[in-house]
Symmetry: C2
Subunit: 250 residues, 2 copies
């Protein structure tokens, strides 16, 4: 289960990740049921042959996933909601991945595929110089041949020079970027509702004035550097976003 880094070249899985997988496995196999108390930390350490610091890193990770919770002076408990949950909200998924998860077939109609110099606004958002060649890809995204959203993504051509020559009707942009080593880890997003203008309505096959869910995203890499920006206009009645807000400490 979950060999998160085993694929990558360099490193073996850290001990604490193995501990995470082990506990998660026991929950999924039903050895640990919702509401049950875990063995005390010091005991688990012995069983797993790891130190308490390492164990606690694993437990902390499982808290973030919503699988465990701790109670001072009492012990660790399996969450009630932990059982059926295999899906995890608030993850950055590509349209292709979302489709796959729902068992639907994605494809695209490419409306634009061009290279322009970046405007001042675009350059500022992406942290590049104005005039830098910018690749723009506009697609109608469909699931099982039903238009779901209109996606306009822009990124510096320098990141993946061969982008301009590819056909994105079937290809996943995320997968293409990943192959070139461009790996977003976060996307800061704003979401609003608006009315469909004529052009968008035509491409999404809805009436003008119908509600749209508009999401603007800026994707960042592990160093918080901007990678690309995109805006997606979803047909209101055909798409539902899921996310999870967490309470900041205090």
């Amino acid at each position: 289960m979950s060999d998160s880094s085993a694929v990558l070249p360099g490193y073996p899985d850290p001990l604490w990740i193995q501990a995470v997988a082990l506990v998660r496995g026991e929950i999924e196999r039903g050895v640990l049921k919702p509401g049950m108390r875990l063995a005390p930390e010091r005991e688990l350490c012995q069983q797993l042959g790891i130190s308490r610091v390492t164990l606690r890193r694993a437990l902390g990770h499982l808290v973030e996933e919503g699988v465990l919770s701790a109670s001072r002076g009492r012990g660790w408990y399996v969450s009630q909601t932990a059982q059926p949950k295999k899906e995890w909200p608030n993850t950055l998924e590509s349209f292709t991945e979302t489709a796959a998860r729902m068992g639907l077939t994605p494809h695209s109609r490419v409306l634009q595929n061009r290279i322009d110099p970046a405007t001042i606004d675009q350059a500022e958002r992406l942290g590049i110089a104005p005039g830098t060649p910018l690749f723009s890809l506009e697609r109608v995204r469909l699931l099982n041949d039903v238009p779901i959203g209109l996606d306009l993504t822009r990124l510096p051509l320098g990141l993946v020079p061969e982008l301009g020559e590819l056909d994105f009707t079937e290809r996943s942009l995320y997968a293409t970027l990943a192959e070139a080593g461009v790996e977003p880890v976060r996307a800061d997003s704003t979401i609003e509702a608006t009315k469909a203008d004529d052009r968008t309505a035509r491409h999404l096959e809805v009436a003008p004035g119908e509600p749209l869910l508009v999401m603007h995203q800026l994707a960042l890499d592990a160093d918080q550097e901007p990678l690309f920006m995109s805006s997606i206009r979803y047909a209101g009645e055909r798409y539902r976003l899921r996310t999870s807000f967490s309470r900041a400490p205090q």
Copy 2:
């Protein structure tokens, strides 16, 4: 800056939180500028008089906030985007808190304030028995007297029995719950766009058929137990949601 837990009764701030505040302070004061390298960990430990484990917990926290990033064998660097960012997306904020952050004055028109037995659907979502007394509060939320959203929140009356007798025109529901020890830490949310029905349109003072941003939330406590559910319908042109999606490992 940021005395996160000093308000609460029990504990003093952990050391690593103080270290977080200290580093963040240096960045905000401009002592550390975007792109700059921090002193090596072992050196910082000496300066701050804390152990490396503790320091690293603080640095890890700042990575999550997008303020720092680490580079193996090279050092810690201040993110380029760290400078102007004081706001942090993806936090669960009450309407009152959001208003305060934006410097606006919130208030409410209470449309309903009642107690009913929970339906089967409601009971299932909240993890309680059907028929349990359920407190329902429906409010038009206004900022500077402009209607922004229509909020319908329901929670088991047992959590805070005196809820039925309070006036929520000026009062914050979140603050009231917090006083009673009800502290949500997460809210799983779905977001969609739809058209305003007649009743909603009237209360939000928009035309029927105008776009709405509809958010359904289930708030959970630290043990992942459901606390309350709410649905908020925002006037499309008057509200913009912010969130941040993160890429799941692998």
